[in-house]
Point group: C2
Chain length 421, copies 2
Amino acid sequence: MPRIVIIGAGFGGLNAAKGLADADAEITVIDRRNFHLFQPLLYQVATGALSPGEIASPVRNVLHRQKNTRVLMADVTDIDPANKRLLFQDGGACQYDMLVIAAGSTHHYFGHPEWAQCAPGLKSIEDATEIRRRILTAFEHAEREDDPVARKAWMTFLIVGGGPTGVELAGALAEVANDTLRHDFRRINPRESQILLIEGSDRLLPPFDPKLSAGAAQALAAKGVMVHTHSTVTELDAEGAEVKFPDRTERIATKTIIWAAGVHAATLSSVIATRFAVTPDKAGRIPVEADLTVAGHPDVFVIGDMAVFLQDGKPVPGVAPVAIQQGSYVAGAIRQKLRNQMPKPFRYWDTGSLATIGRGSAVAQIGKLRFSGPVAWLAWLFIHLMYLVGFENRVIVLLEWAFNYFTHNRSARLITGVKEG
Amino acid sequence: MPRIVIIGAGFGGLNAAKGLADADAEITVIDRRNFHLFQPLLYQVATGALSPGEIASPVRNVLHRQKNTRVLMADVTDIDPANKRLLFQDGGACQYDMLVIAAGSTHHYFGHPEWAQCAPGLKSIEDATEIRRRILTAFEHAEREDDPVARKAWMTFLIVGGGPTGVELAGALAEVANDTLRHDFRRINPRESQILLIEGSDRLLPPFDPKLSAGAAQALAAKGVMVHTHSTVTELDAEGAEVKFPDRTERIATKTIIWAAGVHAATLSSVIATRFAVTPDKAGRIPVEADLTVAGHPDVFVIGDMAVFLQDGKPVPGVAPVAIQQGSYVAGAIRQKLRNQMPKPFRYWDTGSLATIGRGSAVAQIGKLRFSGPVAWLAWLFIHLMYLVGFENRVIVLLEWAFNYFTHNRSARLITGVKEG
């Protein structure tokens, strides 16, 4: 039986595996983690609205009824195309006949890897609980700080990057400061927090319609978020950041910086580039053919955030719907190739874009429709619940949102990850 | 206004604070963590049934409407009774007129602190997610292991201590192996796991009625748990443990050992002993007077797991109901002392004991009643939900249990706390 190996159990890999459920093949899904993570809701873990377990599903559980599929928890560090073999970090190995690479992306600090320490990004559960720890600890320090200058630095939050992650984080953080914590402190007033959102381009949510970008900026401003476009961070350390605004360069004293600015294909992409002799783009993404294979390797697919696929001359964006559609496409393409048929080229069907600014507030563009406010927010809610893996998670998340909506409470605002004495 | 300081926001401290809600005093609650933790359900986090956020409540949120109360996140490292002053690890300090110490307990390795590394105990959220990581990783390693001897070591789990924590952990772990994971692996059969429960005394759950102990042992045996009483661990390392059984001493090869054997008062107890010139018992607990104060210090109370209080010549047990009742008592005693009245001595009203063995199975003794099976399990369920802090947590936990009951799934079985590459 042909051995089909899928690297990564994100949106792309998981959908490829599901699409091969009853294929006459031996499917292996390899991931470093034992769970599929619903990354679009990570910012809600980072701001204490949801618990990690509520947006993650064990991969084995998702696929456990699929008899032709096995799951391996391993970290693929090398590929040997001549012998059709993967090598794992722990010394293990695995043979393949066809390979699907869907290892996702990581943060990108534009040549400043040292910034990662002071400005964590939001890609993993650990990132989210670390950001949650930093945000909540900042308010705790502020409450105990006598010096007004130091207190202000604790109560200043800088979010770098005005894409969906930055916008959603800024909106949620504003609600934490304005509503969730409003009765919690005795010396500080959390509503006096400063939340800065820094975006390099001319508007927030660059891939959206400019009207929606303006709407998002307005909604954030109404929550007290200071939105700065045409602005970039030029220096960054544990005590603050130097920001180049259009009219001046200023040092912002802040203890909490969150990085939502750049993504780069996961480290495996450099291995792919070398082993398959392809040139990645500057974000490390691997160019793929019309059928999502690597040039010259019709049995190796690269999908999701790791791939750069040109459609009508433009790369398709690095979003969940692309990965999902590519995963399903690849499952079909593999079935056809196994029957010696030629798959039709992949084509991304744009399902639209959504970003939420907070309670009852979102922007959406679906087809030719552009809308914002409560209707967009309900659409956002519905679509996110629909794509969340696992019926149980859907029910629990919906319930958590209902509580959050009516009480403003965020019950998962725990400071964890510190060792007790 | 008198300054009343409460160290610890566990069952004792939180109930003392709540009992002083409308007192004419300045209340300060100090805890190292920003949340109250419902420790009786920690084993369900360790076995993937619940998420940390579901059994923890932010202390500030619990007390935010209580205007006379402030919350400090700090680690008290010293007490200066002459100046009525507490010192914090970070250099901060705090004055008190009356002091309530409720800092709880930690693990006790009976003179082998080095065992902590190989056999984590279950007291904090971090302990629970670490044990969860070890249990789930063991099955992952077993699935990939070719050597049958090594595979058996990965599939052997040793729980040291047959009190409520050990019994509940063993029962939950058996259900993980027998039910939750039953379709998850392709090479191993999780039902072939060996779960050993080691207890030094002659029976499980020593404080319970012997009939209930026997019932618990039987229920565990029916789930495949190997219960060994009269047995102790004499050596312990990363590869296994040496166990002294009644008839032999044997080395058990296991990669996963969980410590549920001993507790010791939190480290602050040695500071109390020195500063207030009292002699702690061998578990580090501080002896207290009839009104729960330290001898010679009528304004210093010690309650909960940190205190040893003799009632009818016997120490009251280190369980949640004792801490809760002592917390409420102390709030009343403080109010009386502030009015120069003498409080009546504390008396513990035994509300009964409950331990669950798993799905539909528990043992209970309430007053003169002794019962087990589904009725005891429903009583356990009801009482745990009732004492869980926060309406939201109650609803979510009940829903998680309902899912778990009908599907056997444990959706929070995530391997976290590892750094991604």
